[in-house]
Symmetry: C2
Subunit: 218 residues, 2 copies
Amino acid sequence: MNTRICETLPEPVVRRLTKYLSYTARMTEEGVEWVSSADIGDALGLTGSTVRQDLAHISAGGVTHRGYNVERLHKMLRELLGADRGWCVVIVGAGNLGCALAQHGDFDRYSFKICGIFDNDPAVIGKKVGDLKVAPMSELGEAVRVNGVEMGILAVPCEAAQEVTDELVAAGIHGILNLAYAHVRVPEGVALVNARILERLQELACLLNAAEQVEGRA
Amino acid sequence: MNTRICETLPEPVVRRLTKYLSYTARMTEEGVEWVSSADIGDALGLTGSTVRQDLAHISAGGVTHRGYNVERLHKMLRELLGADRGWCVVIVGAGNLGCALAQHGDFDRYSFKICGIFDNDPAVIGKKVGDLKVAPMSELGEAVRVNGVEMGILAVPCEAAQEVTDELVAAGIHGILNLAYAHVRVPEGVALVNARILERLQELACLLNAAEQVEGRA
DNA sequence: TAGATTGTTAATCGATTAACAATC
DNA sequence: TAGATTGTTAATCGATTAACAATC
C-alpha cells in the first residue's frame, strides 16, 4: 500500500522525503513527540505548504492542532525509503572511494548492508577491506544470485562505467547507484540514481564564479 | 561576461551543463569535431530542444547545419564551471570518505586541488593521506587565509555537521560541498551544494520498493 | 472556547517540449 | 540547391506556493 504510493511519487517529493527521514531521526533522538509542517519546513529550508503536500502524498496522517507524530512519521518514512528491511548491496570498484564506502558506518545504520566488493584489477583482488575481501568481477554473478543482492554501487573510473554497468545488469541487479563521472544507460526495468561528487563540485564552482562577478561590480 | 550569465542560470540548467562538460571531454578525446543538440540529447537522455535552450543560455554559438564545435563548447563549459582555473579546496573530516576524496585523482584532473585535510580527532591528526597530513581544526583559518582557499568539503558525521560548517564559514570559506547526512545552514553569501550518497541510496530503495510492488501485481 | 494546524483546492510560477522561421 | 540544424517563441506540463474550510 505504501509502495503503491512510492511508484507514482514525483522525484522532487522522494528527495525531500529522504530529508524528512533524517530530520525525524534527529527529533526521535531528541525525544520530540510532535512536529508541525512549519517546524519541518523551518529546519530544512522549505515552506510548510510544500511539506504538507509531500506528507499528504504518503498519507502521513497529520493531526489538526498538533501536527505530525514524530515516531509514526519516522516509521512510515523508514518503510517507504527502505531503511527498515535490510538491503544487500555490492560495490564495484575497489579504489579509494569504493573502499571508503565499504567501510562507511552510515550505510549499515540505515540498513544497507555491503555484502561484497568487486574489481578486475589483479593488484587489488584479495585485498582486505574492513570485513570483506575484494573479489574478482567473475564472481559477481554468483554473489548476486546467492545473496539476493538488489543494488550495486558503481565506483569505477569513467572509462569503465558503461561496461561495468552492463555487467551489473547481466548479473541480475535491480538498481544502480552511479558514482562514476559518466552517464550510463540501463535497460528498462533497472533503476538508476546518480550521485556524482565531482559534478556537484562543479556546480559549486559555477556559483562561486557568479558570486565573484557580483562582488567585482559592487 | 560568462559569469554574468552563470549568476542567473537556473539550477537544473547548471546541473545539465556539468553533464555536457563530461560529454564534450569524451568527444574531444575521441576527436569528434561537431555535435548536434540531438547527438548530445541522445547520449545523455535529454531532448534536443532542452539541450538547445541550455546552450542558448550560455550563448554557445551553435552553427546552423553543423551543430556545436566540440572544442569550443568544451572550453566554454570549462570556464563556466571552473574547470580551468585551479580551485583550492580543503576537506574537513579525515574519516574513510574524507581520506578517499583527498586521494581521488578526478578532482585534480578537473582543477580542484585538495590543499588540506582537517580533523579534530587527536587519533588521526598528523596521519599521512597521500601527499597531505591531517591537520587540527585550529589550523583551518590560517590555511584558508594563506592559500586563498575558497571551497570546503564537509565529510564529517552528521552530529558535527553544523558546528563544522560554522567553523568553515568563520574561516572565510565561500562555498561548501556537504557530504554529511544532515541539513546545514549557511549565512547569506556562502554557497552550499549538497551531495549525500546515503540519501541517493534511499531514493534508489524507494524506486525498488515500488518496482517490486508492480511485479507483485503482475 | 479560541487558536493552531491540517488537507486540499486554486493560483502562480518555472521548466520542458514542440514548432518553426532563419539560414548555412 | 536541398536538407539539416540552430535559436527563439509559444504551448504544455508539472511543481511550488497561497489560501482557506474543516476541526481538534
